[in-house]
């Protein structure tokens, strides 16, 4: 099932949508996704491969072969009681406990990284504040590796904040114990030359809850591959993404949710806006429901808003269902331009056109941004988006008015 669309087709909520509930047609057993820890098991990609066909490979030459990590990223951490972190070696038992490299860049980073950032959330700890991992990059080549272990029944938020100008290939592993609730926000607010290719992979324990929000606003090439597996029944994964691509920016998100345990759920909402003719976004959403994953519920949504002529958004949802015993499965994808009727409606109430456009784009992104519960971060990202849209710092009075109107 492939939908590559740049058609002017805005926000029809059901456009391209369909669901698989009730009587389900099994799609057969697809080939197993190839994974390996040996980089040489992956040929150097040329750009013709399915995995790389959307990516501008010429700019990625430097990361397709092993390199010496130049250590030009400054990583700093802060966090409340209940969270601990340290730099560990490759011999740490959690290193590689979740990751199964699925492409050459991920395998190279895994094979060559030496320092691993290990973050532990204590069992049953309820963190009062987020754990902040800030990465400030300077020009140079870097390998990165992070392992976050959320022990059973812990509840925590971990924020990754990437700024500066660097080349970064990395793997991030999330290991969720039974009943753990881990909320991850990863912000890619790089300078315009940065290259960032990273796999985020989670193993979700029994009844555990994994929320992952990816926000990409800056960088030349940002290619993130969030993948999720379940280690026991009853887990849930919520994957949200926001990309705002401008001139010369290529933002790619490749998701894979592998349902192999019963009674788990996954929900994917990824949204992109593109505001230059040379802007590109790619969204690949693969979901596999294996025969043993009965009672699965999954939905994927991708929406792309083209703010200028010439911008291109590719969207490829893919759902493989190998059992009829599921609760529900579906996906929807649509790419379109500004909805003239929305603009007309807002303008007919006196709102000037540029402000009406900002309202529409903010509204378009709202259901992703609203999953960022760290207020200061939410506000910073909203302000960055407003600035991109040519707006003034937003007037929070309107939001307060909502609260007062609602509770008065």
């Amino acid at each position: 099932m492939t939908a590559t669309s740049t058609d002017p087709q805005v926000h029809p909520p059901a456009a391209g949508a369909h669901s698989h509930g009730g009587p389900v047609t099994k799609t057969g057993s697809p080939a197993e996704r190839f994974t390996s820890r040996n980089p040489d098991d992956f040929a150097v990609p040329s750009g013709r491969e399915e995995d790389w066909r959307f990516t501008p490979m010429r700019k990625l030459r430097s990361i397709l072969r092993p390199y010496q990590s130049e250590g030009t990223e400054e990583v700093s951490l802060s966090g409340p009681q209940g969270a601990r972190w340290s730099i560990v070696g490759r011999d740490h038992p959690r290193f590689g406990s979740v990751l199964r490299p699925a492409d050459r860049v991920s395998a190279l980073a895994f094979a060559n990284v030496s320092d691993i950032l290990f973050v532990e959330i204590d069992a049953e700890a309820q963190l009062s504040e987020p754990v902040n991992v800030t990465v400030a990059g300077k020009p140079g080549l870097n390998y990165g590796h992070v392992v976050v272990e959320a022990k059973p029944y812990s509840k925590a938020t971990v924020v990754f904040d990437h700024t500066g100008n660097t080349t970064d290939t990395a793997n991030v592993e999330f290991l969720l114990g039974d009943g753990a609730q881990l909320s991850v926000v990863t912000v890619q607010d790089w300078d315009s030359e940065a290259i960032h290719v990273s796999t985020h992979t989670a193993l979700v324990g029994r009844d555990a809850q994994f929320d992952h929000v990816s926000v990409t606003l800056g960088g030349a090439i940002v290619r993130l591959s969030p993948t999720v597996r379940f280690a026991g029944p009853g887990g849930s994964a919520q994957l949200y993404g926001l990309s705002f691509a401008g001139a010369g920016q290529h933002f790619e998100s490749r998701l894979y949710v592998d349902h192999a345990m019963p009674d788990c759920s996954s929900n994917v909402v990824y949204k992109s806006a593109l505001d230059a003719d040379s802007a590109r976004t790619v969204w690949i959403g693969d979901v596999r429901i294996r025969p043993e994953a009965t009672g699965t519920s999954t939905y994927e949504l991708n929406r792309n808003l083209l703010l200028t002529e010439g911008a291109r958004a590719d969207s490829v949802p893919n759902l493989e269902i190998e059992t009829g015993e599921i609760t529900g499965a579906g996906h929807a994808s649509a790419t379109g331009r500004f909805d003239d009727l929305q603009l007309f409606y807002l303008q007919s109430r006196g709102i000037p056109e540029d402000e009406a456009r900002r309202l529409v784009v903010r509204g378009f992104f709202a259901d992703v941004l609203n999953h960022i519960k760290v207020a200061a971060l939410h506000d910073r990202l909203m302000a960055a988006i407003d600035a991109r849209l040519g707006g003034q710092p937003s007037d929070d009075a309107a939001d307060s008015a909502a609260d007062e109107t609602g509770t008065a």
């Binding site: 409606y345 807002l346 006196g350 056109e353 509204g363 378009f364 709202a366 939001d399 008015a401």
Partner: protein, 257 residues
């Protein structure tokens, strides 16, 4: 005193002429009802005045207090004092009613309303329309029922205080209770002395909102004008005298609903 003058208005949709010379003047304090069968061009008139991009004005004038409305951008028309309550209000995902109303009020009034008085003002206007407070937190028109959409339109009319309001089939899709509540909301705003152009297919809303003038719209122009008694005539005989077999009375609406 304000005055909306429509003079010799001709409007095309793509290559087809829909309005074929409309002349009408609406002044402050007056309520004009435009009645006509389906497809007569009533809604085209409303959207053309508001500036909908789908409609092309081929000739004629629309003046608000002598200013040429047709040269204004859509938002300028609203700030000049025109308001259109739409038959099919548009969903704006992710934008809360509260944020939308305040942004619109700020634009129309030229400054942000003071938060404290604004909250009171919104709550008062919502209670007239029997709207729950939680309504303000929902996204604009998203998942609204037909009745909620119409209440929301009239709520905006109350808060934006236009000089001239055009209500396009505000009665369509409303049950009796909702029609009463919405009509009361409209009447509250009318009492402030604005001019109202009420576009409708059926006479039933005219039981709640009493027009000073009734105009029959047919084939892209006004074919007959009179006082409120013209609505009674339409209620009794429908649009048969204009060669259209469509009733205009309430009973027929209820039976056919």
């Amino acid at each position: 005193m304000s005055k909306l003058e429509i003079r010799g208005l001709h409007v095309n949709v793509e290559e087809t002429e829909i309005l074929k010379g409309v002349d009408l003047t609406v002044s402050s304090g007056e309520t004009h009802a435009i009645m006509g069968p389906n497809g007569s061009g009533k809604s085209t008139l409303a959207y053309s005045i508001a500036g909908h991009p789908k409609y092309t004005i081929t000739s004629g004038q629309v003046l608000l207090d002598g200013e040429n409305v047709l040269e204004m951008a859509v938002d300028q028309r609203a700030r000049a004092g025109l308001f259109l309550a739409m038959q099919y209000p548009v969903e704006v995902p992710g934008v809360s009613v509260s944020n939308f109303l305040r942004t619109a009020a700020t634009a129309v009034r030229g400054e942000a309303p003071k938060l404290r008085t604004w909250v009171r003002e919104v709550n008062a206007a919502m209670s007239v329309l029997e709207m729950d407070k939680s309504f303000a937190e929902r996204n604009v028109n998203e998942g609204f029922s037909g009745g909620e959409k119409k209440r929301h339109e009239i709520l905006q009319m109350a808060l934006l205080q236009p000089k001239i309001a055009i209500l396009d089939e505000t009665d369509s899709g409303l049950d009796v209770d909702a029609l009463r509540v919405v009509s009361e909301g409209v009447n509250r705003v009318r009492e402030t002395g604005i001019g109202t152009l009420l576009i409708t297919h059926y006479t039933r809303i005219l039981r709640y909102i009493k027009p000073d003038f009734v105009h029959v719209f047919f084939d892209g122009r006004i074919v007959e004008s009179g006082g409120a008694e013209l609505a009674d005539e339409l209620e009794a005989n429908g649009y048969a005298r204009y060669g259209v077999n469509e009733p205009a009375d309430t009973e027929a609406v209820t039976a056919g609903a």
